[in-house]
Amino acid sequence: MNARLLPYVLILPVTLFLGVFFLYPFVLVAKLAFVGSEGLSLENFRDVISYWKFPISLKNTMLLAAVVVPVQLALALLMATMVNRMEKGRDLVLYIWTIPLGISDLAAGIIWLAIFEQSGFLNSMMTGLGLSDGPVNFLSYQNPGIVFLAIALAEIWRATAIMLVILVAGIGLIPKEYYEAAEVFGASPWQRFRRITLPMLRPSLQTALILRVVLAFEVFAVVAALGGTLFPVLMGEIYAYQFDLQNTNAAAALALIVLAISVVFTLIILRALRVPKGATI
């Protein structure tokens, strides 16, 4: 076959597939969102935004992302640097730390449900230690703080691994000589981390943050398993519009809002962590 055509033949299936199942649905979702009872309008957006649950679910989603992502970033950085200087047992520790990578958000929600539910392990432990007289219903409307905590913990537990993997891979790409050079020039471990690891890790940090932030706005099943209706989030509302209210147009409008938020944050991260041309390893 003609060597000039071959690459195009090879990428054609993916391009077609993404065209039909990624780009085209975009157009569709936008169309659905802007179609009102009489032609094109912002009606759906008005309806969605003026619904009383919208501000709460927006606030909850953002708050959750704002709490979870920084904790995950710090934790993943800590774990990645710790494992980087490990000699023995590195593979085992990495295997254990990356287990949650393969666990679905629904399963993660159920796992933490086992801990926080009324007859769960947290209550059992607290009663066993004499800290409380009987089982407390943590996941109820009386304890919104604990509901939030449970959801945040489940998210941190589940999705730190993805950042860890990206960061460990990124740190692995930084040549050892830079650290040795820095050490010769008298940099302390903390300075080496600040002045070498962090700046050189920028491309990986970028990827990790984008993936995580976008996923954080998609939070859904963890919340469904732990909070149910106690903690409305945007994705849950979209699901409710689609299923319970059978209002696809409103669901599409809300989906477009989530998409917009995701894109805005992606752009912010790209800009904040951009790597100057020629400054790559």
């Binding site: 195009y8 990428i11 299936p13 993916v14 391009t15 597939f17 990624f22 649905p25 569709l28 979702v29 659905l32 774990m79 710790m82 593979d91 520790v93 990495l94 295997y95 990356t98 287990i99 949650p100 990578l101 393969g102 666990i103 679905s104 399963a107 159920i110 796992i111 449900l113 086992a114 539910e117 009324q118 007859s119 392990f121 059992s124 009663t127 537990w157 993997v165 990206i166 990124g170 491309p203 984008i210 993936l211 976008v214 996923l215 998609e218 859904f220 099943a221 469904a224 398993a225 149910g228 994705m235 979209i238 699901y239 299923f243 669901a251 989906a255 989530v258 998409l259 995701s262 992606t266």
Partner: protein
């Protein structure tokens, strides 16, 4: 003299206490991952009555009651089967469609390459499960609604960018000279690929296939939106969250987790290599 000695002792003391702190934090972080899984295991391997009783024991009683209840629950086994079918379809489609593109990216310079890379990376900035909404409408029109194949198409969209980037990095790890040597030794492009590249890349391809399988297996939102009768396990569990008894949830959660453990174990060698280049 004594001063110097004290400093030395102090230094070795800080060093050993630092090492102790280091080992302790690693152990703690391992426990942070494992303990919740262990607690789920206790619940899964306990009789339904135990699961709903209080207080809980921290040792499993190895009773298969909950799992039996899970298996006997109406629709659950079909859901499990659907999950496997959808995940297998996703796995096959994303590797078959994605790997050629990964190969093209690693071996050729061509006009539009950057644009193509952009398209792949663009998928990352969007919450893809949302695309299930318009597709639900589209699928009803084309008769793909509520089918394993329809859902697998959406899951392939999720898995495809990973498949492309991972296979790209795998192919890039195979020196192009090996292929060129094969050409000079009597191979065509195709036979050089099947005789030289494929045997070398097969373990990596398997890893990325497993990755695609798990992406589909774990996906909740699109599965819940796109299936009604033919629910996957995640969609089924999500739907029953409200009314299902605790032991059913835990057994279901456990069944969801098992492939994850196997998956991470199977691809552990590739996890970092795959992510290393694929995410630049």
């Amino acid at each position: 003299m004594t001063d110097a000695a004290t400093t030395l002792v102090d230094q070795s003391r800080t060093r050993s206490s630092g090492r102790w702190l280091y080992a302790a934090s690693i152990t703690l972080l391992c426990a942070w991952v494992i303990v919740p899984l262990y607690l789920l295991l206790i619940n899964t391997l306990s009789a339904p009555e135990t699961v709903n009783s209080f207080p809980k024991s921290f040792i499993p009683e190895f009773d298969l009651g909950s799992l039996q209840f899970f298996a006997g629950f109406r629709g659950m086994l079909e859901a499990l089967r659907n999950s496997i079918v959808v995940a297998l379809l996703t796995m096959v489609m994303s590797v078959l469609i994605g790997a050629p593109a990964g190969y093209a990216l690693s071996r050729f310079e061509f006009r539009g390459k950057e644009l193509f890379r952009m398209l792949i990376l663009l998928t990352r900035a969007f919450p893809l499960p949302l695309l299930a909404l318009p597709l639900a409408v589209l699928f009803i029109r084309t008769g793909l609604d509520d089918t394993a194949f329809g859902l697998a198409l959406v899951h392939t969209t999720l898995a495809l960018p990973f498949a492309v980037l991972i296979t790209f990095s795998l192919f890039s790890g195979i020196p192009v000279e090996l292929e060129e040597a094969a050409w000079t030794l009597g191979c065509t492009r195709l036979t050089a690929f099947t005789k030289v590249v494929l045997p070398l890349i097969l373990p990596g391809i398997t890893a990325s296939a497993i990755f695609a399988f798990v992406i589909s297996w774990n996906e909740v939102f699109a599965a819940a939106v796109l299936t009604i009768e033919n629910r996957t396990l995640t969609a089924f569990l999500l739907q029953t969250l409200g009314e299902a008894p605790m032991h059913l949830k835990f057994a279901g959660g456990f069944i969801l987790v098992v492939p994850a453990l196997i998956f991470i174990f199977a691809v552990r060698k590739y996890l970092f290599a795959m992510w290393g280049i694929a995410n630049r």
